[in-house]
């Protein structure tokens, strides 16, 4: 599949979609959205890129194999739950910063949990899709 229109469109769409996915991730606490949907949107962005430019280019773009995203995300989610335990609270107690950060707003441990989910979802989706499409190409 070599289409100039798709390639050109992807050049603009990929960063837009990735930004959008982060936006969805961050707004999740107040409005519709969250780590899961955000992760899916980001995955779609990369899938689109792989359609336009081929799998190898996308993999190069990602730098690391998608399966290596999974443990990172899992660890982040897990650690966000462990964090309150240092303060003597139970696992996964919500902890919040006292001052809101600019642009992002109030930051809490749930945010890092959601970011972890976001990364795991990207890793899982791309691992499954890329593995299948690779094995078909062979």
């Amino acid at each position: 599949m070599q289409s100039t229109i798709l390639k050109t469109a992807t050049n603009y769409l990929l960063p837009l979609l990735l930004l959008f996915s982060v936006f969805i991730l961050l707004r999740g606490h107040y409005e519709s959205g969250g780590g899961f949907v955000g992760g899916l949107v980001a995955s779609i962005a990369f899938v689109l890129h792989s359609f336009a430019y081929g799998l190898e280019r996308t993999q190069k773009l990602l730098k690391y194999p998608p399966k290596s995203f999974i443990p990172v995300g899992l660890l982040l989610s897990f650690m966000s739950g462990v964090l309150p335990m240092f303060g003597g609270k139970a696992y996964m107690t919500g902890v919040w910063s006292s001052e809101p950060l600019p642009v992002i707003g109030l930051v809490g441990s749930a945010l890092f949990f959601d970011i972890g989910v976001f990364i795991v979802v990207i890793g899982v989706t791309l691992t499954i899709l890329f593995t299948i499409s690779e094995s078909i190409d062979q």
Partner: protein, 772 residues
């Protein structure tokens, strides 16, 4: 204390990582582990001698009532000394016996694991803890028995031992749970505070039954005895350790431990006397027909275990002291005989008693050790075995009239046969002249001291304890007996009891046994004559059941797990229809209430029409691609419905998932050939019927759910508290990341597992020859 108990596990862990260090000569150093534990426990002797009970407690799972509670009393002390003392000898012995073995480090890891489990078992004060350690001994002994894993026989016997002792473990757990329910505690110490309580409970019979099955399976009592001779496939040091002092004595330990709680009851006494009595005679008789040294030892071990069960069953003061003494006597001489057999096997290359003889000329010191062990097993005066045998006769003679005349001859015959077994293994290979097949001399002419010193120590101890019986009595036996009996027993061990009936019985044992030894040799073909009886033997029945279960599982799996996605979906759907349908139609009063419905709006009608058209297209199209696209149209229509009815989160997720699913489908199906007709009319009809019924069922449930009163309390809680507790305004998201965060965590793990599954299925290129 906890370090002493768990050091075996630690050692196994360290060996797993740094095993290479200990594969060579350094392996001797590992013997320091049991030796130091042995020394550690020596410090407790003064307290134990003063009749104290030492307890240690470490918090573990307090919410389940399981803590690492340890309790050291006389009985535990006896076993700890055997486990670590004989353990140390085995460690040193194995360093030379298995020298240069490829997996020597692994062997020591298993051995340490096993030793740690045994220590935990005899020290645990909590019944559930006992169960955990009990299962650990089963598993670690499985590794040890199957250590020669390139041998099919060896693997089979390891599996058999695990199956029998592992099943026994479940019975044991049942017994412990029943005890726990009845007494409201899992602590043995607390149960011992009210010893008569359990005997009056209605569950007593069941507790007893389960406990017996558990201990009999471990201690190789009839009809569970057959795993023990099979376990002789293990390397000889393992057999020596498992069958003289540890594994098989675990069942005995358990019976002894619960004797003050459950004993002194007709059911307890009779069951143990009959089972133990039968086992000891049956196994002793078997040992006489065997020619393999290890088989003889195996059956004589079963017989000795039967003797112990029998003595605990009698339960009088004499019998309990006899049992405590006999545990020690047997451990000393049996471990010695096993080790000697190992040396013979190692040097002569055979264990057949017909092909052995005159080995005293090769190894005079080993011959001496063999002689000492055989004399102790025979109960010749001035050995520790003599004292043990005396006590056994004292025990049977001190029973009531009827038992006195039946049990005494039973013990007499068993002892005569055991004497024969001891002589056959300890003396026969060393007596006479060297046969022709051995004329070339030993396989390893320079015998390592690591091999011959351990049996000599054991033999020496048998004599030492026999000459000075108050030493073992004061240190071990009297306190162990008191723990088993439940109150203090004063019955000192003596060399000389004067001229009485006991002495006469001992003399008869020795004379008759010696006569049997000199006059009888096992014939070659006595086993095949009773071939047809083999079918009913417990071993054959177990194997038969195992094989049939395997076959059943094979066919069952082949039918249900045939690898076709379509049949999985069919099975799941039909099962759901049956299950939900039955429940639905049998319990719910079907009503459809249309009064609450609103008018159908225009855009709703449009979405509905699109969905129907897309469904019909999906079902009847001839192109795969069209089918996929129409499927995704259905999904997107559902997204629209979510949006209309106020579930934007759901709609977003559904939308992205739908997109990715289509991509996935296209990736796979784009490469497949054109649409093929691969289902006939009948199959289409069947699938249609199933789909139609499932759809109808779901619709009915949905309609029913509309009129069922919903419990709004939970959703109100989340709505009210989302902002207050979790500072979030999107309730769905707050539930996902905060209230039910642990669920989400596990769900991400499920996703991970799915991804790993796909990845390994497609990336793992198994060559056809490697499959299996």
């Amino acid at each position: 204390m906890i370090l002493a108990v768990l050091s075996g596990f630690l050692a196994a862990l360290i060996l797993a990582f740094s095993g290479k260090l200990f594969r060579g000569r350094l392996s001797v150093l590992l013997g320091l582990l049991p030796l130091s534990i042995f020394n550690y426990f020596l410090y407790f002797f003064p307290d134990i001698s003063a009749g104290k009970v030492i307890t240690f407690s470490y918090r573990w799972i307090p919410s389940l009532g399981i803590n690492l509670d340890f309790r050291l009393d006389g009985l535990s002390m006896l076993f700890v000394m055997l486990i670590t003392g004989i353990g140390a000898l085995i460690y040193f012995y194995a360093a030379s016996y298995l020298e240069g073995h490829k997996f020597l480090d692994r062997f020591y890891a298993y051995l340490s694991l096993f030793m740690g489990s045994m220590l935990g078992l005899v020290l645990a004060d909590n019944t559930l803890l006992i169960f955990i350690f009990w299962e650990l001994t089963s598993i670690s002994s499985f590794f040890l028995i199957g250590f020669n894993n390139d041998n099919a026989e060896s693997r089979k016997s390891a599996l058999m031992a695990l199956a029998i002792t592992g099943c026994g473990g479940f019975f044991l757990l049942a017994s412990f749970v029943l005890m726990g329910i009845a007494t409201q505690t899992y602590s043995i110490g607390q149960m011992l505070a009210a010893p008569g309580f359990l005997k009056e409970q209605p569950a007593y019979e069941l507790v007893l039954f389960f406990l017996f099955v558990g201990s009999f399976s471990k201690s190789a009592q009839f009809p569970f005895h057959f795993w023990l001779p099979g376990a002789m496939k293990a390397p000889t040091p393992v057999s020596a350790y498992l069958h003289s002092a540890t594994m098989v004595k675990a069942g005995i330990y358990l019976l002894a431990r619960f004797s003050p709680l459950l004993g002194d009851h007709l059911l307890w006494t009779n069951t143990l006397m009959i089972t133990g009595g039968f086992t000891m005679l049956y196994a002793a008789a078997h040992s006489v027909f065997k020619k393999d040294l290890k088989s003889i030892l195996a059956y004589s071990t079963i017989s000795a275990l039967g003797m112990l069960v029998f003595l605990i069953g009698i339960g009088t003061r004499y019998a309990i002291v006899a049992a405590a003494a006999f545990i020690l006597v047997h451990a000393l001489y049996k471990a010695g005989l096993f080790l000697i057999t190992g040396i013979i096997d190692h040097e002569a290359g055979t264990r057949n008693i017909d092909k052995l003889g005159g080995l005293r000329k090769w190894f005079p010191l080993v011959a001496l050790a063999g002689l000492l062990a055989a004399l102790s097993s025979a109960g010749v005066p001035l050995t520790f075995g003599f004292i043990g045998k005396d006590l056994i006769y004292e025990a049977t003679l001190h029973t009531q009239d009827f038992f006195r005349y039946t049990l005494t001859p039973l013990a007499l015959i068993t002892n005569i046969l055991l004497l024969y077994a001891g002589f056959s293994t300890g003396i026969r290979p060393f007596a006479g002249s060297i046969p022709e097949n051995l004329s070339k001399g030993p396989l390893h002419p320079s015998l390592s001291p690591l091999l011959w010193i351990p049996p000599l120590i054991l033999g020496g101890l048998s004599i030492f304890f026999g000459l000075l019986p108050y030493v073992p009595d004061q240190l071990l036996v009297s306190h162990a007996a008191s723990s088993i009996y439940g109150s203090y027993i004063f019955l000192p061990l003596k060399i000389w009891h004067g001229f009485n009936l006991t002495l006469l019985l001992s003399a008869v044992t020795i004379v008759a046994g010696a006569a049997l030894y000199f006059l009888y040799r096992p014939a070659t073909a006595s086993a095949a004559t009773q071939y047809w009886l083999q079918w009913f033997s417990p071993q054959h029945l177990t194997e038969w059941t195992g094989e049939k279960t395997r076959l059943f599982a094979y066919h069952y799996t082949k039918m249900l797990q045939n690898g076709y996605l379509r049949s999985y979906i069919l099975t799941i759907t039909v099962f759901l229809i049956g299950l939900i349908g039955y429940r639905f139609f049998s319990t719910v009063d079907l009503r459809v209430n249309t009064s609450g419905f609103t008018e159908i709006r225009f855009f709703e009608f449009v979405v509905f029409a699109i969905t129907v058209i897309a469904t019909i297209t999906t079902v009847f199209t001839n192109s795969r691609l069209t089918a996929i696209v129409s499927m995704s149209i259905i999904g997107l229509s559902i997204c629209l419905i979510y949006v209309y009815y106020g579930a934007p989160d759901l709609a977003m997720t559904q939308f992205t998932i739908d997109t990715l699913t289509v991509v996935l489908f296209v990736l796979v199906l784009y490469r497949l050939p054109q649409y093929l007709i691969n289902s006939n009319r009948k199959m289409k009809l069947r699938d249609g019927l199933v789909a139609f019924s499932f759809g109808t069922l779901i619709s009915l449930i949905t309609l029913q759910a509309l009129i069922s009163p919903a419990n709004k309390e939970i959703s109100r809680f989340y709505a009210d508290n989302a902002y207050l507790l979790a500072k979030g305004k999107n309730v769905v998201n707050v539930i996902l990341v905060d209230f039910r965060g642990a669920d989400t965590m596990v769900e991400t793990m499920v996703l991970t597992i799915a991804a790993l599954g796909v990845y390994s299925l497609l990336k793992l290129n198994v060559k056809p020859t490697d499959k299996d």
